[in-house]
C-alpha cells in the first residue's frame, strides 16, 4: 500500500453512560458514531455538548475498566477489540493530576494528620468553617500535637503528657469538631484536648484508659460524642469524649497504679490533673493487634475493624458482639469504607489493598485487589469528589490514587478483580523506595477544599491538590 494514501477514517459506535446521578443526560442520545481518532479531550467536549453545560467540565472515560489514555483507535488495537461492535463508554468527572502545594516541617516523624474544613466530618459536626480557615492537625513521634493553617503556620502545640516517664510518641490524631481534638499512641492512653483558636492553645481535658499496648488508630463520631480506639492489645474500645458520660478508669492501667510508676509520675508532676475515665465497651475477639476501627457510615451503632490477625470484623456496638468476620491471607493495617459501592477497603503488609463486601451474604472474600505499592499500605481515605475513588499511603514513600471502576478480571484465586493506581504521588524531594528508608508515609487524608494531606518519616506534612479546573 502506498504510504502517502491516507486511509479512510474509521468510525465506531459508542454508548455513553455514567454512575454519577447528577451528570446523567436528560435525553439518552443512544449509540453515537464517532471517529476512532478521538481522544479524551474530544470525547469530553461531546459529553459537555450533550449535557449542555454552561461551563464545560473535564471528563475521564472508562472502557472495560480501563481509563482511556490514548486515541480510541490505539485503545482498540491494544486490547484487540473490533471497531465493529458498540463500545460502552463510561464518563466520570476527570481527576485533575494532584500537584505539590506545600510541606510543613516537624521536629520528628509525623504519624497522623486530620483536616478540619467545611467538607470534612469534623467540619460538619462543629461550627461552620469558612473557606480559607481550614486547619490541619498533626501527631508526631515527639509526642506533640500541632495545629496548622494552610500557609504552614503552626498555630498551637500541645504540652507533653505526664505519663510516668513512658514513651509519649503519638500514632494518630482526629478532629472531633472545631474545638476538640483526640489523639493516642504508644503509651496506650487516648487523650481528648480542647483547641482554643483565639488563645492558640491545645489543652488536655480527658484521659481515657482501657489499653495495655499501643493505640494504633482512632475514629470519632461527634453526634454521639463517641471515640473508637484500635489497640495492639487485640481489643477495640468505645469511649465517650466527655468525662461526665464515662465510667471510671480501670485502676491497674493508671500511671499511679504501681509503686515504681507512681514514683516517676510524682517526680514529674506539674500540679495539673486531668480527669481519667474508662471505656463504655470493649470489643474482644481479634487475636492480634487491631490496626484500625471505624464507624459504619450512616450508622454509628455498627463498627468495622481490620487486624494484623488477617481478619475484617463487623461489630454491633450496642451489644459489643462481633457479628461478622472475613479472613484474608495477610495482616491488615488500615481500613476505610466506600458507602456507595458498599465496600470496605483494607491495606495489607503484603503491599496491596483488598476490597471486600461487608454484607453478610457476600461470598467472595475479596471483591477487588489493588496492586502497585512496593511496601505495606498503612493508611486509606476516600476521594471526596468520587464514591469510587480512594487514596492510599504506604511505607514505600508514595501516595496512590485509585478508582475502583478501573479494574480488570483475572487476579489470583480469591483476589477478585485487579486494579492499578491512577496517580502516584511521591514525597517532596524524595523518590519512592521499596525499603521505605526515610520516606515512609504513615497517614493520608483527602478533602475537597484542602486536597490530599499526608505525613511520614520525612518529618513533614505534605499537601497535594489538583489544580483548579
Amino acid at each position: 500500500m502506498a504510504s502517502n494514501t491516507k486511509p479512510p477514517e474509521t468510525k465506531v459506535q459508542i454508548r455513553l453512560s455514567t454512575r454519577h446521578l447528577d451528570l446523567k443526560f436528560s435525553e439518552d442520545p443512544g449509540a453515537v458514531l464517532v471517529p476512532t481518532s478521538l481522544r479524551r479531550l474530544q470525547l469530553s467536549r461531546l459529553v459537555n455538548s450533550f449535557l449542555q453545560t454552561s461551563t464545560p467540565l473535564p471528563f475521564d472515560f472508562l472502557i472495560n475498566g480501563q481509563f482511556l489514555r490514548s486515541s480510541i483507535d490505539d485503545f482498540l488495537t491494544q486490547n484487540g477489540i473490533s471497531a465493529e461492535i458498540t463500545l460502552n463508554v463510561e464518563y466520570t468527572p476527570a481527576l485533575v493530576p494532584p500537584v505539590h502545594v506545600a510541606s510543613f516541617e516537624h521536629d520528628d516523624w509525623v504519624s497522623g494528620v486530620d483536616i478540619l474544613s467545611q467538607g470534612s466530618p469534623a467540619g460538619t459536626w462543629g461550627a461552620s468553617i469558612p473557606s480559607g480557615q481550614e486547619r490541619i492537625v498533626s501527631s508526631s513521634y515527639d509526642g506533640l500535637i500541632r495545629v496548622w493553617d494552610l500557609s504552614g503556620n503552626c498555630l498551637a502545640v500541645s504540652a507533653p503528657p505526664n505519663n510516668g516517664s513512658r514513651i509519649s510518641s503519638l500514632k494518630c490524631v482526629n478532629w472531633l469538631n472545631d474545638k476538640t481534638i483526640v489523639a493516642a499512641g504508644m503509651d496506650s492512653v487516648v487523650r481528648v484536648f480542647d483547641y482554643d483558636a483565639d488563645a492558640r492553645t491545645i489543652t488536655q481535658s480527658l484521659e481515657l484508659y482501657n489499653h495495655k499496648w499501643p493505640v494504633e488508630n482512632l475514629a470519632v463520631h461527634a453526634p454521639s460524642d463517641r471515640i473508637l480506639a484500635a489497640s495492639a492489645d487485640t481489643t477495640i474500645s468505645l469511649f465517650a469524649a466527655a468525662a461526665k458520660d464515662s465510667p471510671a478508669a480501670p485502676d491497674h492501667l493508671l500511671p499511679s497504679s504501681t509503686t515504681a510508676s507512681n514514683k516517676r509520675r510524682k517526680k514529674s508532676n506539674d500540679g495539673k490533673t486531668v480527669p481519667s475515665r474508662g471505656a463504655h465497651r470493649t470489643l474482644t475477639g481479634h487475636t492480634s493487634a487491631v490496626s484500625e476501627a471505624i464507624f459504619k457510615p450512616g450508622d454509628a451503632t455498627v463498627a468495622y475493624s481490620a487486624s494484623r490477625d488477617h481478619t475484617l470484623r463487623t461489630w454491633d456496638l450496642t451489644t459489643a458482639n462481633c457479628v461478622d468476620m472475613r479472613t484474608t491471607a495477610h495482616p491488615l493495617l488500615c481500613l476505610t469504607a466506600l458507602p456507595t459501592p458498599n465496600l470496605l477497603a483494607t491495606g495489607t503488609s503484603a503491599r496491596h489493598i483488598t476490597l471486600a463486601d461487608p454484607r453478610a451474604d457476600a461470598t467472595q472474600i475479596a471483591a477487588m485487589t489493588l496492586r502497585g505499592h512496593m511496601n505495606a499500605v498503612v493508611s486509606l481515605d476516600q476521594d471526596p469528589s468520587s464514591e469510587y475513588g480512594l487514596v492510599s499511603g504506604s511505607h514505600d514513600g508514595t501516595i496512590r490514587i485509585w478508582d475502583v471502576r478501573s479494574v480488570k478480571p483475572g487476579g489470583a484465586v480469591g483476589e477478585g478483580q485487579v486494579g492499578e493506581s491512577v496517580y502516584v504521588i511521591e514525597r517532596d524531594g524524595a523518590k519512592m523506595k521499596s525499603s521505605g528508608e526515610g520516606v515512609k508515609v504513615f497517614s493520608v487524608r483527602w478533602e475537597a477544599e484542602t486536597g490530599i494531606v499526608s505525613c511520614g518519616e520525612d518529618k513533614k506534612v505534605q499537601i497535594n491538590k489538583g489544580e483548579s479546573r
Partner: protein, 379 residues
C-alpha cells in the same frame, strides 16, 4: 535409558510454597559498629538488638523506629539479646562481656505489664541468702554467678538485674516457659554452659567437663532435653535423668549455631565452613541433608517457631537464605526441604556479613542483624 533424576520425587516450586519473605520492608539504623544479635518479642511488635557499641536498642518492628536504648558497657559488645517467652510480661535478657542483664523496658510498657514483669524479677531477691550454701562447716566455693542490682543509672532505665558470670557470654536462649534460660561462655571451660532460674536468682553449671569449645545451647521445645553444641558435635542430655542421650555428628569443622524445630525431632546446624545441615533425630547421628549455598561462613540459623514451615540462615557473604522445611509426623516420610529465596541488602564489612536472624512469632517475616550496623525486616 532412564534419567535417575526423574525417579526422584519432584520438589514443589517456590511459587507453590508462598508465603515467605522476599523483600526488605524496613531498615533499622542507629547502631555504631556491628549489630551482633537480634530478637523479636513474643507479640511481634518490637525488635531488640545489641551490638559492638555496647548498646541495646528496641525498635518498632513495622516502621524501624528506635523506641528505647541503654548503654550496657563502654568496653564490651552486646553479643546476645533474647526476649523472654510469654505475652503477659515483657523481659529482655542481654549479655555484654561477663554480665547478663535482665531488662524491663518500662518506658514502652503499660503500668500493669511493667508490674507483672518486675514481679517476676523481684521474687528471687534474698533467695540465695535464705539458702546458705555453706553447710556442716564446709567452705563454699565461689558461686557460679552473682545476681545483683546493677546500680541506679541502669535501674532508672529498667535494667533491674545484673548477673555476673566468670567468662564472656556469647549466646542466650530461653526455655519456653520463661523460668529458665541458658547462657554460653565459650572460653569458660567448666563454666561454659550455665542455666539460670529466674524466680530463684540461681545459676547452675550442669557440666563439670565439656569436650570441646561450647558454641550454643537450646532447650527442647516440649521435653526435658537440653542440646549443647561444641565445635564439632551437638549433644543432647536428659535433664531429668541427668544423662547423655545422643551425640550428633554434623561433620563440621566449626559449628556456629543451631536451632531446634518446634516439633523437637529435627535440628538445623550452621557452620563457619559455609554449610547448613539438617539433622533428623530419629534417623541418624549424621545429617539428613547438607546444604551448600553460601560463599562464606554461616553465623546464624533459625526455624520459624509459629507454625510456618520456614527456616533461614545468615552468612558472612552478606545474604540470608530462606528455605521451606516441612516436617511430616509420619516416620516413613522424611522432611521436604526447598530453597526459596536469597535475601540481599546487608553490606559486607571487614569480611563479616549477616550476624543474626530471627523470625516473627506468627508471620512469614524475619529480621536480620548486619556487620554493616543495620538491622533489616524482610517480608
Amino acid at each position: 535409558n532412564i534419567d535417575p533424576e526423574s525417579l526422584l520425587p519432584k520438589l514443589p516450586s517456590p511459587e507453590e510454597l508462598k508465603p515467605f519473605p522476599t523483600t526488605c520492608a524496613a531498615v533499622f539504623r542507629g547502631h555504631e559498629g556491628r549489630v551482633r544479635s537480634i530478637s523479636i518479642d513474643p507479640w511481634g511488635y518490637f525488635l531488640a538488638s545489641g551490638g559492638d557499641d555496647g548498646v541495646v536498642r528496641i525498635w518498632e518492628l513495622l516502621t524501624g523506629r528506635q523506641l528505647w536504648s541503654v548503654k550496657l558497657s563502654d568496653e564490651d559488645a552486646v553479643d546476645a539479646v533474647s526476649w523472654r517467652p510469654g505475652k503477659e510480661s515483657t523481659i529482655l535478657a542481654a549479655a555484654a562481656g561477663e554480665n547478663i542483664y535482665l531488662i524491663v523496658p518500662f518506658a514502652i510498657l503499660s503500668p500493669d505489664v511493667e508490674q507483672s514483669s518486675r514481679d517476676l524479677l523481684d521474687t528471687g531477691w534474698g533467695y540465695a541468702a535464705s539458702k546458705p550454701t555453706a553447710t556442716n562447716g564446709v567452705t563454699t566455693k565461689e558461686p557460679p554467678a552473682r545476681w545483683s542490682r546493677p546500680g541506679i543509672r541502669l535501674e532508672d532505665k529498667g535494667v533491674l538485674v545484673q548477673i555476673a558470670v566468670r567468662s564472656s557470654v556469647k549466646a542466650i536462649s530461653w526455655h519456653r516457659k520463661g523460668e529458665y534460660f541458658t547462657t554460653i561462655s565459650p572460653r569458660g571451660q567448666s563454666t561454659a554452659v550455665a542455666i539460670h532460674a529466674l524466680s530463684k536468682h540461681l545459676t547452675q553449671l550442669p557440666f563439670r567437663r565439656l569436650k570441646g569449645l561450647a558454641q550454643s545451647a537450646q532447650f527442647h521445645p516440649s521435653k526435658p532435653i537440653f542440646f549443647v553444641a561444641t565445635k564439632n558435635s551437638i549433644r543432647s542430655y536428659d535433664l531429668a535423668k541427668q544423662e547423655l542421650v545422643k551425640i550428633l555428628q554434623p561433620g563440621a569443622k566449626w559449628i556456629s549455631s543451631f536451632d531446634v524445630h518446634p516439633g523437637g525431632d529435627n535440628l538445623i546446624v550452621g557452620t563457619y565452613d559455609k554449610r547448613l545441615l539438617w539433622h533428623d533425630l530419629d534417623l541418624s547421628t549424621k545429617p539428613y541433608k547438607t546444604l551448600r549455598y553460601h560463599q562464606e561462613a554461616i553465623r546464624a540459623v533459625a526455624f520459624h517457631q509459629g507454625g510456618l514451615p520456614l527456616f533461614a540462615d545468615a552468612s558472612d557473604d552478606g545474604s540470608l537464605q530462606i528455605f521451606h522445611g516441612r516436617v511430616v509426623q509420619d516416620l516413613m516420610e522424611n522432611a521436604t526441604i526447598v530453597p526459596l529465596k536469597v535475601l540481599r541488602g546487608h553490606q559486607v564489612k571487614s569480611r563479616l556479613g549477616v550476624m543474626d536472624v530471627d523470625w516473627h512469632p506468627r508471620e512469614p517475616w524475619c529480621a536480620s542483624a548486619g556487620a554493616d550496623g543495620t538491622c533489616r525486616l524482610w517480608n
